[in-house]
């Protein structure tokens, strides 16, 4: 067993691109779930908005890539309205149902043959991130050179995405932190605790919920953009509903209704995930058997990891729904 390699990979996983785009998406979900008590199970749909906004500039509109940012934000605002208008006056579960459905339909639409001209079908859209890479080269980061110190060594290509990515995390983290201290943020938290009380104070709960949903969604959109820029491609199947669920798990792991929680959650999530994945792959090189019954073979490691994510989410919800750094009192809301 190669412990150095496992620990090296896990530490790298904690700050890698996966942790970055999860963190941005989790900050967005935290606004909705942690602060307002809204269950958005369609964060992947918002992420797809950002990714496809960028991709479509090159693939369909034939305009400079940077237009993709306002385009993606526009898409996600529209998506937020589509999800919010019918559901936000109703009980919490309706939003969950509609968001999960809308995100799934978005995935079906962007991968369909029918709309291939717009979204590139199941192959997605490739090779549009050059303008982004060029800026990295311009400020002196060699795309293929190695940077960093043990264990955090990255190629210039990765480093550039990480620099921008963590800047975006910091920016949105700061923004959300400030917003939640403001009177506006206090109204959101009050809605989470007791909607009727807030309504009786003359606040337009519906409008506040809508703002929260859209703000969280737009932040999620940037997560999709970071992921797409890193890959230089968008693939519809990267935005399945499971992605939303994994982000939710990462958020709950870190801590809800806390900005720090939404950032350290994804870091821990990917650190642990990489650790378990590497560890399992090493012990499962030979299939583990009891008698004739195979308990684990190397092809099943991937599924086992995801099972553990599910189990982790269950255990967290039973024993620590507020997450690592959250405050239990803030997660006592009921949704009725």
């Amino acid at each position: 067993m190669d412990w150095t390699l496992i620990i090296e990979n896990s530490l790298k996983g904690m700050v890698g691109v996966n942790a970055v785009y999860f963190a941005v998406a989790a900050i967005g979900m935290n606004v909705q779930y942690g602060y307002t008590g809204l269950l958005n199970f369609g964060q992947a749909g918002f992420m797809a908005c950002g990714a496809y906004g960028l991709g479509m500039t090159a693939h369909y509109f034939d305009i400079p890539m940077w237009w993709g940012i306002p385009l993606g934000v526009l898409f996600s605002v529209l998506l937020g309205l589509l999800m919010g208008i019918p559901t936000l006056r109703l009980r919490a579960d309706y939003l969950a149902i509609v968001t999960i459905a809308a995100a799934e339909i978005i995935r079906l639409i962007v991968r369909s043959v029918k709309f291939k001209t717009y979204f590139g079908g199941s192959d997605g859209i490739n090779n549009f991130s050059e303008p982004f890479r060029e800026i990295g080269t311009d400020i002196g980061i060699q795309q293929s050179a190695e940077y960093g110190f043990w264990p955090f060594t990255f190629t210039g290509r990765e480093l550039w995405t990480l620099v921008i990515g963590w800047l975006v995390v910091a920016l949105f983290g700061f923004l959300v932190y400030q917003l939640m201290k403001s009177p506006w943020g206090r109204v959101l938290k009050a809605i989470r605790e007791d909607e009727d009380a807030v309504r009786s104070l003359g606040k337009n709960v519906y409008s506040y919920k809508m703002q929260s949903l859209i703000l969280g969604g737009v932040i999620g959109t940037f997560s999709g953009m970071i992921f797409a820029l890193d890959r230089g491609s968008v693939q519809p199947d990267n935005y399945s509903r499971d992605v939303t669920f994994y982000i939710l798990t990462a958020l709950v792991l870190g801590g809800v209704a806390k900005v720090t929680g939404s950032i350290i959650g994804p870091m821990l999530f990917w650190g642990l995930f990489t650790f378990i994945d590497n560890f399992m792959r090493q012990i499962a090189e030979d299939p583990i058997k009891v008698g004739n019954f195979t308990i684990l073979q190397s092809t099943q490691v991937g599924q086992l990891n995801y099972m553990l994510i599910g189990l982790a989410l269950i255990l967290l919800m039973v024993f620590r729904p507020q997450g690592l750094v959250g405050n239990r009192k803030e997660m006592a809301f009921d949704g009725r």
């Binding site: 589509l82 519906y206 599910g310 949704g335």
Partner: protein, 440 residues
């Protein structure tokens, strides 16, 4: 004549020069469909094909072999005309009305070195149906899907009604029933080999589907009971919030689905019996005997459930708890007992849905989770928490989704369900049969 002989002479010379370079692969097929409606074309042998270039010079000719294929080498990427000699078609066969005996290929259409050209004989299976025929077939398919959806959705809606929980793992209960049946039907449990004296049970412990299906359903009911007893009743007792429970069901869904995937694999697999059947043509539609039996059974089960809810004591108690849990408790109804019953019944019904879906579309690790969103659309349309609403809503959504595939591409046929979901929530959030209450 002389020219064409000369032409083919030159053609054959160039052929040897560019032996494997460029070729036309001509396939002649008779169109047909198998019982399940999938394309099952038959090759047609012994048909003469000739190929001429842009100047009308013949560059090659041949006859289709046993597999209905002839490969004619051509000198280069260029425009060619392929002619099928209709007099060489087998007796009683003719080209499809839409298919011309002369086809052309252009230089640009050579993507690889070999270009495939198809000729179809017989009636086109997809185009010849009239709109009414296609509509009635879709409605029939929709009824089948709707019955399965209604069956799966009753449990989802009843659980919601009695406990307030939206169970995002309900699709996994459906899958559980389908796969449990698969285990008994195909995989076999060797320690049950001693039961081989029973009809339909083998030495390896595999069971005929008529055994396996009820066993799978029983397991589904047990699974529902276990979920309630092991997790949700404890959470209710501890007073854990509904939102927390809902997120927990998401974790449960991830856990179970990946467990199924790791044990069952990503492929879809059929049950042993009733797999291949010839469809009955009834007027404009066709349906296999298996689907007929399944549909009638579903209908019977659903009617039984509806009657039981309406007239039995337990059914009345269930609806009372669903209506107002506190009031029900105050009138002496043991609501925990009702909830336990609802989980068992819901699990068993979901498992029946899974088995029927497996018979219809084969079993797979995500057969249930792919239905989840349609179930939600169904119960929202019918009215969240209302069992009758779930029956009606699931049924309507099933028909709608299938009929919609006449207008929208098949890959997008679930889209109308989202539209319905949004429209219902906008204009009648309590659904068709739900009772209006002040919300928000």
């Amino acid at each position: 004549m002389f020219l064409s002989v000369l032409g083919s002479f030159f053609a054959s010379m160039t052929n040897t020069a560019h032996a494997a370079d460029y070729a036309l692969r001509i396939q002649v097929k008779e169109q047909s469909r198998d019982a399940s409606g999938k394309t099952d074309n038959q090759p047609v042998a012994g048909v003469s094909i000739s190929v001429t270039d842009a100047n009308g010079v013949e560059v090659g000719a041949g006859e289709t072999d046993e597999s209905g294929v002839v490969v004619i080498p051509v000198p280069d990427k260029a425009d060619y005309t392929i002619t099928l000699d209709e007099s060489t078609l087998p007796d009683g066969q003719s080209l499809d009305a839409k298919s011309s005996p002369v086809q052309t290929v252009s230089k640009d259409s050579f993507v690889t070195t070999t270009k495939i050209i198809n000729f179809f004989t017989g009636e086109s299976q997809s185009e010849s149906q009239t709109f009414v025929e296609r509509l009635s077939q879709r409605i029939l398919d929709g009824i089948r899907l709707g019955l399965v959806l209604a069956m799966c959705a009753v449990g989802l809606s009843l659980i919601f009604g009695t406990t307030g929980l939206t169970n995002f793992a309900h699709g996994e209960i459906v899958t559980f029933g389908g796969l449990a049946t698969f285990v008994f039907n195909i995989t076999g449990l060797s320690f049950l080999g001693f039961l081989a004296f029973l009809p339909g049970v083998s030495e390896q412990g595999t069971f005929h589907i008529l055994w396996a299906a009820p066993i799978g359903v029983a397991f589904g009911g047990f699974f529902g009971w276990a979920l309630n007893a092991g997790i949700f009743s404890k959470l209710r007792r501890r007073g854990i919030g509904l939102v927390t429970q809902m997120v927990l069901t998401v974790g449960l869904s991830i856990l179970l689905r990946n467990f199924f995937l790791s044990r069952f694999g990503g492929r879809t697999r059929p049950y042993r019996e009733f797999t291949l059947q010839r469809a009955w043509d009834i007027g404009p539609v066709s349906i296999t005997p298996r689907d007929t039996v399944v549909s009638i059974l579903s209908l019977l089960i659903l009617v039984t459930v509806a009657l039981a809810l309406r007239y039995t004591r337990l059914g009345k108690a269930t609806r009372a708890v669903s209506d107002n849990p506190d009031l029900a408790s105050a009138t002496g109804i043991d609501s925990e007992r009702v909830i336990r019953l609802v989980w068992i019944l819901g699990g068993a019904l979901a498992a029946i849905g899974g088995v029927f879906r497996g018979l219809d579309e084969q079993a797979s690790f995500d057969m249930g989770s792919r239905l989840l969103f349609l179930m939600f659309a169904g119960i929202t349309l019918g009215g969240l928490g209302s069992a009758f609403g779930a029956l009606v809503g699931g049924f309507v959504v099933g028909i709608m989704v299938e009929v919609a595939s006449l207008v929208v591409p098949t890959e997008l046929k679930a889209t109308p369900a989202l539209v319905v979901l949004i429209l219902v929530l906008l204009f009648r959030p309590q659904g068709i049969l739900g009772k209006a209450q002040r919300v928000g």
